[in-house]
Symmetry: C2
Subunit: 512 residues, 2 copies
C-alpha cells in the first residue's frame, strides 16, 4: 500500500456554493477552563500544586502536571522570577503528552517518515518576568512537562499557576448521563465519548494531536457516535459539504480535506473512503431528514459509486485486480484489499439506492439495487473458497475480507463464525491494526448474530487501550505491542483518534 | 574576582521623582527596514535571493542569509508551501549570529556559567502556510540561518522573502560624513560608530545580544563616543537618572540597572563603576550645561565617592586591602585591583570637585580637591616601586595599575613609557582582556604623550577584531585567541559591545 499520495500539480475543483454553505455551518466552540491539578511532580518529588510557587526552579529542573484527563486546548502559565532580578531570558521547554509514556521519549531520536513537527514540544525564551504565558497553539494532552533549559545563576523560575482552556464543539450540557451494566462497559463507553468530544472541533477531526483534519472514514464513525450523544449535526453537515465542495477534478472525493487557510481537497484518493460517503450521507439523512442537504449533496454522493463502477469494475461488476491498492481498509502492508473493497462498494450502492429513494427517483433506485444484487452474487462467486471455508482476496485469507463481505451481506448463512475463527489472529495472515478495522469487525460479528463475541471483543480491545494508559482511544493499537507505531516512533502516535470512538455508539446501541 | 554577585533579599531603594524623569526621557526608536541580501546560501550552494522562492526546502535543508552588516532588530520571513497541500506543521529553527563563526557552534554543547538563554536560537512550529512570520523578539545579528527541522513528505517549505526591521535610538541622519587619514582608521572609526548605534536603544545597552542593559562603565564610554557623533543626549540623561533613581539601600549605585518590567538596581556593586558616575555626570554637563540635571543628580553623584572614602580608605586616604575585590577594572582572575582602583577614586574626586564648582560650592570643591591631592601623594608613596620602575598593587605589576595611575596623574614624569613596557604582555603578569581596558590603556598612552604608540595600539587591537570577522567591536578580544570566551563558549560572547565602541571617540578626537 502506498502510504503517501502525491499528485504533481494537483488542483482541487472547488464549488463555491457548497463551500459557502460549509463556511456558514462553522460551529461555535465551547471553551472550558481546567485549572492545574492539585499536585505536581518536580523532578522526583511530588508537591502540592499550592507549594509549587515556593519551589524556585533552576537549570535542568522539571515540573510535570497531570491534568487528570485528556484535554484539547491552550495552556496558560503564570511565571515569575525568584532570587535576584531576572538578568537573562528564561529558556523553557514544554512537552505535551496524551499518555504518560510519551514523556519518556526523546524527540531528537525520532526519525520516522511522518513529520516530526507533530511532536508537541516547544522551546521558548521569556525576555521579561513575570509573565502570563498564553501559548498560541492548541495541544492535545493530559500531561505537560516544563523543563527549565536555563535561567541564570542569579535567578530562578517560579511557576505560580497553570490552566488549560479546552476547546470543543461538542456540547456536554445536552448529554443525559447514561448508566451501563458494569464498570468496564461504562468506562469504555465514556472514553469513547471523550474521544469523540475531543475530536469534535471546527470540523470532525481525526485526531486533535494529529492530523487535525477531516477524513471520510473517520467522519462516518464520528457521526454514528455523535447521533446518539452530542448530536453535533451542524458540524457533521458542514463536513459533508466540505467533501462535496472541494474534490478531484474528475469529481472523486478526496480522502481528506484541509480547512486552513481555506478548504482544499488533499491529493489523496482512498476508494473505500469515497464509497463510504453515500453511506455517511444516508445515515445523516436518517437522523435529520434534511431535504436541503439531500438536494445539494445527492449527486456528489452518487458520483462516488458511479466512478468506481465505471472505472474500476469488470463487466460482472467485480473490482478489477489492483483496485484494492487504492483503498485503505486498515494499516497493513500485506493485506490484499480487493474483496474487502468489494464489500464496501456493495454497501455504497445500497446507500445510493436509498438516497435515490429519498428523492423519489424509483428508476435510479432500482438501478443501484440491481447493481448491488449482481455484485453480491459476483462477490460470492469470486471470493468464497469452499476449501478454505472463508473468503479469499487474491488467494489471501484475512479477517478484513470476512468482515467487509459479512457487512455487505455476502457471507453465506451460518459460515461467519468459522470464517472469523479461521482468519482472526492466524499466523501468516494480516492482523487488524487499527480501531477503525476493529470497529467493523465488531459490527460484522453483530451482523452475523455473534453478539456475545462482539461484546467480548469490544471489552478486550478497547478496554486494553485504557489498561495501557489512555483516557481516550488511540489511532492504532495492537494488544500484543501497545506502543507499536506505523510511523516509526510512538511519540508521533495519536492517542485520541476519532475512528476509535465507536464504543460510545456500539455500547449505547447494542450493549446497553 | 567574584563573577556573580547575589545579595539575598535585596530590595533597591527607588526614588519616584528621578525615575519619573527617566521614564519621560525614553527615546523614540528609529526603525529602518533592511531587505534580504541579494544572494543566499542553501546548503552548500550559493543562490540569487530571487531564486530562493523557486527552491523548495525539505527536512534538513539550511538557508543562510548574510545581511551584510550588523543589525539589531526584528526579522520577518514570508513563508509558503510547495508540492502538495501542507498536511503537517512546518517546524523550523532559526539561528542568529553576529559573526559567521557562531553558526558553526552547537548550542547543545554549551555548558558555561552564563545563561544559555542568550543563545539566539528559536524553534518554531508553523501550523498554517503561507505565513508572514514576524518574530516578536529582537535579535542582534548579521547572519541568520533557517533550518528546516521538518515539513512532511508531501510538501516543502518556500522562503519567498526576508527582511529585518532594525531598531536604534541613534539618529544617523544628523551625522556628518567624516573622512579620516586612511582606510584603516576610517574602517575602525566606522565600526565604532556602528557598535555605538547598535547599543543606543531604550537605554545605552552594553550589548544588543547580551546583556541588553545599562552598566555605568559602558555608559561612560558610550556617552563619550556619542557626544562627538549621534549626540543621544536624552538617552544619556535618562541613563544618568536611572542609576540615581534606583540604588542600594545605603545610597551606592548598582553597577547596572534593569528597565524591564520596571527600573530596578541589580544587586551588583562595582566600586570602580560607582566611582565613574561623577565622571560621567561631569562629562555630560560639560557637553550640555544642563542645570536641572546637575541639581537633581549632584548629591547622588557625590555620595558615590563619599561612601568609598568613608568605608574603604584608611586615614591616609589609601584604599584598604581587599577593596580592589569590589572593583571590575578588567576581566582577570589574577589581577590585584587596589592600585588601579585608587586611580579611579582620584579621578572620581576630581569630578566631584568640578561638580561642586558648577553649583558654586567652593568649600566642598576645595574639600574634594584636597582629598584628591592627598590621595595622589599617598598613591605614589604606596604603589610606586623604584626597584621595579613601575607601580605595584599588592606586590603585583600589571599594565592595569600603570594605566589607571597614569590617568589619575600619579605617574612620575618621564616614567610612563618604561612602566608600560615593563608590564604590557609580560609573562606572569595579568593580560588586558577587554576593549574596555584597552580603551583606558590608549587614553593613558595619550595622557603620557605617547600618541604614536596610542595610535599603533588602537589600529592593532580594534583593527584585529575586524580582521577576525566582526563588523562591530566585541565585548572581549584577545588577539592571540580571537574566539576566547570568559563564559565557557564563544556562542554566548557578545560581538557588538558598547564599551568597545570608543575608537569612534578616540579617532575623532585624537587621530583625525
Amino acid at each position: 500500500m502506498e502510504l503517501i499520495s502525491i499528485i504533481p500539480d494537483f488542483q482541487p475543483r472547488n464549488d463555491p456554493y457548497l463551500l459557502a454553505k460549509a463556511e456558514a455551518l462553522k460551529p461555535a466552540l465551547h471553551y472550558t477552563e481546567y485549572p492545574a491539578p492539585l499536585s505536581c511532580r518536580v523532578n522526583d518529588e511530588v508537591l502540592e500544586m499550592e507549594a509549587l510557587s515556593g519551589r524556585p526552579l533552576r537549570r535542568g529542573d522539571r515540573v510535570v502536571l497531570d491534568f487528570g484527563r485528556h484535554l484539547t486546548g491552550r495552556l496558560t502559565l503564570s511565571l515569575s522570577a525568584a532570587g535576584s532580578h531576572q538578568d537573562a531570558p528564561a529558556f523553557i521547554q514544554l512537552d505535551f503528552a496524551e499518555i504518560a509514556d510519551e514523556l519518556a521519549e526523546n524527540p531528537d531520536e525520532y526519525n520516522g517518515w511522518l513529520s516530526r513537527s507533530w511532536i508537541q514540544q516547544e522551546r521558548l525564551h521569556l525576555d521579561s518576568l513575570p509573565v502570563e504565558l498564553a501559548l498560541p497553539r492548541r495541544y492535545a494532552f493530559r500531561y505537560v512537562r516544563l523543563t527549565v533549559l536555563d535561567t541564570s545563576p542569579k535567578y530562578q523560575l517560579v511557576v505560580s499557576s497553570a490552566k488549560c482552556t479546552a476547546e470543543s464543539a461538542a456540547d456536554w450540557s445536552i448529554l443525559p448521563v447514561r448508566h451501563f451494566r458494569d464498570d468496564e462497559l461504562q468506562r469504555i463507553h465514556d472514553a469513547g465519548l471523550l474521544t469523540l468530544a475531543e475530536c469534535t472541533q471546527d470540523v470532525l477531526e481525526d485526531g486533535p494531536k494529529r492530523d487535525r483534519r477531516l477524513w471520510i472514514g473517520d467522519l462516518r464513525l464520528e457521526a454514528l457516535a455523535s447521533y446518539g450523544s452530542f448530536r453535533s449535526l451542524d458540524v457533521i453537515r458542514r463536513c459533508l459539504y466540505l467533501f462535496a465542495g472541494t474534490r478531484f477534478p474528475d469529481g472523486r472525493m478526496s480522502a481528506n480535506v484541509f480547512t486552513e487557510p481555506a478548504p482544499a481537497a488533499d491529493d489523496t484518493y482512498l476508494m473505500d473512503y469515497a464509497l463510504l460517503y453515500p453511506v455517511a450521507l444516508e445515515e445523516y439523512l436518517n437522523e435529520t431528514g434534511d431535504a436541503e442537504t439531500l438536494a445539494d449533496l445527492l449527486e456528489p454522493a452518487l458520483e462516488q459509486a458511479d466512478w468506481v463502477l465505471a472505472h474500476r469494475t469488470d463487466e460482472s461488476g467485480v473490482l478489477i485486480p489492483g483496485a484494492g491498492s487504492e483503498a485503505f481498509i486498515d494499516w497493513s502492508e500485506a493485506l490484499d484489499r480487493t474483496a474487502a473493497l468489494q464489500g464496501v462498494l456493495i454497501l455504497s450502492l445500497d446507500a445510493c439506492a436509498a438516497l435515490c429513494g429519498r428523492v423519489g427517483n424509483a428508476e435510479r433506485k432500482a438501478g443501484y439495487e440491481a447493481r448491488a444484487a449482481a455484485l453480491r452474487a459476483a462477490a460470492l462467486r469470486s471470493f468464497w473458497s469452499e476449501e478454505a471455508q472463508c473468503f479469499l482476496s487474491g488467494g489471501q485469507a484475512s479477517v478484513h475480507t470476512q468482515v467487509w463481505l459479512t457487512l455487505a451481506g455476502v457471507m453465506p448463512e451460518g459460515k461467519a463464525r468459522s470464517a472469523f475463527e479461521r482468519t482472526l489472529g492466524q499466523p501468516g495472515m494480516p492482523r487488524m491494526a487499527t480501531p477503525y478495522m476493529h470497529h467493523y469487525y465488531v459490527e460484522a460479528l453483530l451482523k452475523a448474530g455473534l453478539k456475545e463475541e462482539a461484546e467480548i471483543h469490544l471489552r478486550g480491545y478497547w478496554g486494553g487501550m485504557l489498561d495501557a494508559g489512555s483516557d481516550t482511544f488511540r489511532e492504532c493499537f495492537d494488544p500484543a505491542d501497545p506502543h507499536a507505531s506505523p510511523y516509526g516512533g510512538m511519540i508521533v502516535n495519536s492517542y485520541c483518534h476519532a475512528w476509535s470512538c465507536t464504543p460510545a455508539y456500539l455500547i449505547d446501541r447494542y450493549f446497553a
